[in-house]
Symmetry: C2
Subunit: 213 residues, 2 copies
DNA sequence: GCCAGAATCTTGACACTGCCCAGATGAGCT
DNA sequence: AGCTCATCTGGGCAGTGTCAAGATTCTGGC
């Protein structure tokens, strides 16, 4: 039951990650809006200004939470990815999308936080940048592999990345923000809807786009 | 310079919409996070608790702002829509997407607020629901017209709505939240990227999806 | 072993926020 | 006229993010 080395109330070993964990829990339980630095500190059984010795402020803590979220996102995607054979490139492409969607549905609050720049100021936070780039690279690499083996058209890979990412990201956002609940789409089973959208997306990647004359 | 009928400090005529306007300005200038009810009141030259006679609380005011945003979104879309002839159904479909994108790029903070349910609690706000439904109906009607005239496949219209909406919504979100800035996509001109994504989307709507056996 | 300096944590404070209350003010109806 | 009620004010409460000063513990060099 004892922590690795819990000497006393002071210096309890690893307050930094304890705070991040507490913040992740709070975000998932109550959402980003209901999260306060003081409550995080309370959860870690620590005074209200102890976090300032590990983070520059609230935004900095939230950025760390976002970075952890991106790491988990990559893990989820790669877990889905590994279910397909190395030569099933289209299957792996679908898996990347499915992993993205699955993560968003299972961690809606965390997912929202990860894409909220005004809360996390990611521009000056290298951890978030790195985690984001890693997630994007997974998609890009998969698409490149598809193209090398003739599974998708020879269009610009970046352009196709944008199509894939935008479609899946929009699907996640509209669903977890419950926007579709205000439309006729609310009566359509979401799983089937998501699958059709993804199938249409994959089909569109096989089309050679007409170049401007 | 005088208001329509500014009798005195009390009952200055139309405080309700003055507060909404002030809130819209503040959202666009400083973002949703930096908006406080007291600051809105200050902008309207009114005491800090005057807003409570017109709104149930902060969330209620923000919901009103979101509703106003949806109205403007519909206006932007319809303005774009009218540029195309009544029988150019595919052109009008593209116009709906272009209007959506254009509104998001020109009103990023407002756009973000509109799709933030934890701030606006739209579930119990009929104004937001109505405005949202109206925006969706524009897309749905356009797609139905396309289908009637054979411009898109005979697949489920709702499914195609979801593809269109998700793709354009994701494009908007990823761009205005500056997520693409952390990826190789940052070096690609956005206009061309958006156009290619939209072209691929439209092309995919003409494909007949394979039914599950 | 021991002690100075650095790291960590606490307490206290300030300005700000959302929300609620009692009271002041004026508009509109009878 | 007078009365009623919606509107607006000011003060107050609990909670927040952030900072400064002091207390406590760890660490490296002797």
């Amino acid at each position: 039951m004892a922590e690795p080395h819990r000497q006393s109330d002071y210096h309890h070993g690893d307050l930094r990650s304890a705070l991040i964990d507490a913040a992740i829990d709070l975000v998932q339980e109550e959402g980003v809006g209901a999260l306060s630095l003081r409550q995080v500190a309370r959860r870690a059984h620590v005074s209200h200004s102890a976090p300032y010795h590990h983070f520059r402020g609230k935004a900095d803590l939230l950025a760390e939470v976002a970075a952890a979220g991106f790491d988990r996102l990559v893990q989820t995607i790669e877990a889905e990815f590994q279910k397909y054979a190395a030569d099933d490139h289209l299957g792996r492409l679908v898996a990347v999308g499915a992993g993205y969607l699955s993560f968003a549905l299972q961690n809606p609050s965390l997912f929202r936080l990860m894409f909220r720049p005004e809360m996390t100021s990611p521009g000056d936070h290298p951890g978030v940048r790195a985690a984001e780039s890693r997630a994007f690279a997974t998609l890009q690499d998969t698409l490149v592999a598809c193209q090398l083996h003739g599974n998708v058209s020879s269009d610009s890979v970046l352009s196709m990345c944008m199509s894939c990412w935008a479609t899946m990201h929009g699907l996640c956002m509209l669903w977890i923000d419950q926007v579709v609940d205000e439309t006729p789409l609310r009566d359509v089973p979401f799983d089937g809807l998501a699958q059709e959208v993804q199938e249409r997306l994959v089909a569109s990647l096989t089309l050679k786009m007409a170049k401007a004359p």
